[in-house]
Subunit: 468 residues, 2 copies
C-alpha cells in the first residue's frame, strides 16, 4: 500500500467494520435467527446455534466501540511501521497503550468468569482459557527444556548449504511442484510473492497463498510455501454448499494452524517427504547441492537453536517464543505488566527461556504485527496448532498404516483425503477440543507433540534415552 | 482470479451491490438528506444536491433488480471468457441477450423522455443523450473521412522500430521516469503489471495503475502507462477533504477520459514531449534506436491506419470503433438490432467505416469486456473524452503561452497545476458540458479535436490544405 494511504484505508475499514457489525447485531437478524425453530437437519441446527453464538457475542459491543477499535488498529499499525523504520519502541508505545485499554474494555463488554484474557482468547479460540493454557505451557516448561538441553550437548548439524545462490525462478517452480503434489488446486487458487507469507480465502474455490523468496537462502521459500499450502488445503476443503454459513468456515485458528504445521513440520520436515523430493530438488540445483547428502540435508533443515525471530524459529524453540507473548498478553490484561515496561519484561523473558537478548527493537519487541492489529489472544493458537498437528498425525498413521511409504513415494492423496474426511468437511461444526477427541480419542495436550519431537530429534542428534 | 472462483465472486459482488443499494435507498438516508436544509456553503449545497440526484436515481431500482443485474453480469463475464477461449460468439449470445433484456428493463425503471438509451447513458455521462451523440457522430462522419482519405493517399511512416527486443526492466524504469515527470505521486500510488491496463482509486491518497509490457513491442507499455497516468493524476488531484462526498469524485467518465487522452495523445504523442524524452529513451535502448531519428520516431508513433482492435487504434480511426459500438447499443435498445444478428451488423459497420473485416470473433465482436459487465452507454464517453481533451488543451495553451517550451524541457508542473485548478479540484461540482463551458467558453464539440488533428497530421503526412 502506498505510504500516504493509511489514513483513508483506516476510515474505509472502520466504516466496513461498523456496517458489518450493525447488520450482524440488527433486530431483524436477531428475529430471523429466533424464528428458525422448525424441524432442522443436524447441520442446519449447527448453523443456527453457531450464528446465535456469533450474534450474542457481537451484541455485547456497541457499534461505536467497533469503530473505535478499527480506527485504533489503523493508527497502531501506522505507528508500528514508523517505530520499525526508526527502530524505536517508544514510537509504538502510545498507540499500543491505547490498544491495550480498548482490549480491556472489550473484555469487560464481553464479560468473563475467571480472567479478562479469557474473554479475548474466546475471539480466536472458542473454549480456550488462561486455566487451560497455563496448564499446557506449564507442561511445556517442564518437558521441553530437558530435550533442548540434550540437543544442545551435541554438535549441531551443518545447515550452511541453504545459504548459497539459488535462482528465484527455479525455487518458485519447485515450490509449485510441491504444492501440486500436496493436492493444492491451482484452478481454485494461485501463489504470489509477498514480503510476509499469508493465505487469503474468498471461498473454497478461491484460496490464494503468498510466499517469499530469497536467492541467498533456499529455506526462506520452501517451508513458507508448504505452511501456507497447508492452510490453503483446509480452506479449499471446506464444504462449498455451506459457503457463507458457519459450517462453511474453519473450526478455529488452532485447527487452521494444525493443518499448516502438519504439512510444514510433520510432513515437510520429515525424512520420508525428502526421500521423494530431495532428488528432484538436487536435479534443479545440481551444483549447489551436489556435496550434500539426503541425510545431511534432512539434519540441516531440522537444526535446533535459540534464535531471535519467532517466524524463523525451529519447531521446538518456537513454542517459547509463543509462550513469552502469552505471558505478556496475560500480564497486560491483568495489569501485572505495563506497556511502558514491555521492553524489559520482553528481555528478561527471552533471557530466561531462550537465553538470548535481542540486539534492537525491530528484531525484538517490534517483530510481530499482531498487537498493532489488536490481536490479543491470537499467539497461543500457534502452539495449540502444533500440538493438535502431532495428535492428528498420530491418528492418521493409525488410520493409514501405509502412510510413510506413500509419503516416501510422493503420494499425498490418501493423507489429504483423510484430512478432508476427518477435519475439513465439518467446517465449524465441532470446537477444537471436541474435534480432537472425535479424531484421536484423546484430550488436547502436548504429549503427542513431545513424543514426536523426542523420537525425531533422538535420531537426528543421536541422543541417548536418559539424556532426554 | 482462479477459474473456479467466478460463481462465488458473483455471489459476493451481488451481495455487496444489493447491500450498498439498500443503504443508498433507505428511508433513514432519505430523511437525513431532506433534513439538510440549513444554511449551507456552496460546496455543501452541491453535495446535498448531487446526493439527492443519486438517491432519486437509485430509488428507481428495486434491490431485487440490482441483485439480478449483478448476477447476470457475473454470468455474462464467465460466458464471455468461455466464448473467447473457444472463439465462438454463440457461447456468449444467450448471456448477452439476458443482459440486453435487463438493460431495457433498467431504462424503463429509470424512465426517459425521448430514447430508452438516454436512460442508460445517464448512468455514465449525466446529460448525454442520443440526440446529442447523434449530432456529434454525424459531424464526425462528415469531417473525419476526408482527413483519413488524405492520409491514406500518402506513404505511411515506418513504425517497425517499435518491434524489436526491448528488455522488460528497462521499459519499466523508463515508464516510471515518465510518470514521475508527469507529477504522479508514488507516495500515493504504485504501478504494477496486468494484462489489461487500468487505474483503480481507493481515495486520492491511494491511486494505483497497471500497465502491460511486451518485450517485442515498445509501444505496448509506453502509451498505456501515460494514459493510466493521466487518469491517476485526476484521481490524485481530487479534494481530499471531500473524500466520500460527491465533490470528492470525478466529474464524469468523459472528463476522466479527457485527462487520460490529454496526456496520452495531446502530450504523449506530441513532438515537444519527445524532443525531451527521446534522447533519454535512446540512451536506454542505444542499439535498438540508433538508426531512428526523433522525426522518424515521432512519425512512426502517429501512423494512422484502420486496424482490428479498438484499444490499439490510432487516435483518429479510434472514434469509428467507438461509433460502431454506439450504433449497436442504440439499435439494441430501440429493438432495431437483435442480439442474434450482432455478428453481421458488426461486420457490415466495420466494412462501412473502417473498410476491414475481423478474421474471427475473438478479434472482432468479443474484443471488449464492456457488454458482459452490462456497461451499455459507456463507450461514447471514450470519444467525448478525446474531444474534451482537445478543447482543454487549447485552453491550457492560451492560459500558459510557454507550454510548448515547458513540455519540450520536460517540465509538466505548470500544466498539471492548471488541470488541478481548472478541473481536478472541483470533483463532481460541474457536469461535463458545464465544466467545458467554464474552462473554454465553448460548447462541447469536435471542432477543437478536428483542428488539432488536421494541424498535426498535415505536418506528419505532408498534406496539402485542399486534400484535407
Amino acid at each position: 500500500m502506498p505510504p500516504k494511504a493509511y489514513a483513508v484505508r483506516g476510515r474505509q475499514l472502520s466504516t466496513l467494520a461498523s456496517q458489518a457489525h450493525t447488520l450482524l447485531t440488527s433486530d431483524t437478524y436477531c428475529q430471523l435467527l429466533k424464528s428458525l425453530k422448525g424441524p432442522l437437519s443436524e447441520d442446519e441446527a449447527a448453523n443456527v446455534r453457531l450464528s446465535q453464538e456469533d450474534y450474542d457475542k457481537a451484541a455485547c459491543l456497541p457499534a461505536s466501540f467497533v469503530e473505535a477499535l478499527t480506527q485504533a488498529s489503523s493508527a497502531a499499525m501506522e505507528a508500528w511501521m514508523q517505530a520499525r523504520k526508526q527502530n524505536d519502541y517508544q514510537i509504538f508505545a502510545p498507540a499500543l497503550a491505547r490498544m491495550v485499554d480498548l482490549k480491556k474494555q472489550q473484555a469487560k463488554l464481553y464479560g468473563y468468569e475467571e480472567h479478562p484474557y479469557d474473554a479475548l482468547l474466546d475471539d480466536y479460540e472458542k473454549g480456550a482459557t488462561v486455566k487451560m493454557l497455563d496448564g499446557i505451557f506449564d507442561e511445556l516448561r517442564m518437558e521441553l527444556p530437558p530435550l533442548l538441553a540434550a540437543i544442545a550437548s551435541k554438535p549441531a548439524p551443518d545447515d550452511q548449504f541453504f545459504s548459497q545462490h539459488f535462482p528465484k525462478q527455479d525455487q518458485w517452480d519447485f515450490s509449485l511442484e510441491v504444492l501440486k503434489a500436496m493436492g493444492y488446486d491451482f484452478e481454485a487458487g494461485r501463489q504470489d510473492y509477498s514480503e510476509h507469507p499469508f493465505t487469503t480465502s474468498f471461498g473454497p474455490t478461491d484460496v490464494r497463498i503468498t510466499t517469499r523468496v530469497s536467492e541467498q537462502n533456499l529455506a526462506s521459500l520452501l517451508w513458507s510455501s508448504i505452511h501456507e499450502g497447508g492452510h490453503a488445503l483446509y480452506e479449499q476443503g471446506l464444504p462449498e454448499d455451506q459457503y457463507g454459513m458457519p459450517l462453511g468456515m474453519a473450526a478455529s485458528l488452532s485447527i487452521h494452524e494444525s493443518q499448516s504445521r502438519l504439512w510444514e513440520n510433520g510432513i515437510g520436515r520429515s525424512y520420508d517427504f525428502w526421500s521423494h523430493f530431495y532428488p528432484i530438488l538436487q536435479a534443479r540445483f545440481p551444483e549447489q547441492l551436489k556435496a550434500t547428502s539426503l541425510d545431511s540435508y534432512y539434519a540441516g533443515m531440522n537444526r535446533v537453536e535459540s534464535s531471535l525471530i519467532r517466524t524463523e524459529a525451529d519447531e521446538l524453540t518456537y513454542h517459547f517464543h509463543v509462550m513469552i507473548r502469552y505471558e505478556i498478553e496475560k500480564g497486560l490484561m491483568e495489569n501485572s505488566i505495563a506497556v511502558k515496561d514491555l521492553p524489559e519484561v520482553w528481555n528478561s523473558l527471552y533471557q530466561k527461556y531462550l537465553g538470548i537478548t535481542h540486539p534492537d527493537a525491530v528484531q525484538g519487541i517490534l517483530q510481530d504485527v499482531h498487537w498493532s492489529h489488536g490481536s490479543f489472544g491470537y499467539f497461543p493458537t500457534y502452539s495449540l496448532g502444533s500440538f493438535y498437528a502431532a495428535q492428528f498425525l498420530d491418528a492418521a498413521r493409525i488410520a493409514i498404516p501405509e502412510l510413510p511409504v506413500q509419503i516416501g513415494g510422493g503420494n499425498f492423496k490418501p493423507l489429504l483425503a483423510w484430512l478432508r474426511k476427518e477435519i475439513h468437511q465439518y467446517g465449524r461444526k465441532y470446537r477444537s477440543a471436541e474435534l480432537c477427541r472425535r479424531i484421536t480419542g484423546q484430550e488436547p495436550g502436548i504429549s503427542a507433540f513431545m513424543n514426536y519431537s523426542k523420537e525425531k530429534y533422538r535420531r537426528i542428534y543421536q541422543l541417548n534415552k536418559p539424556e532426554m
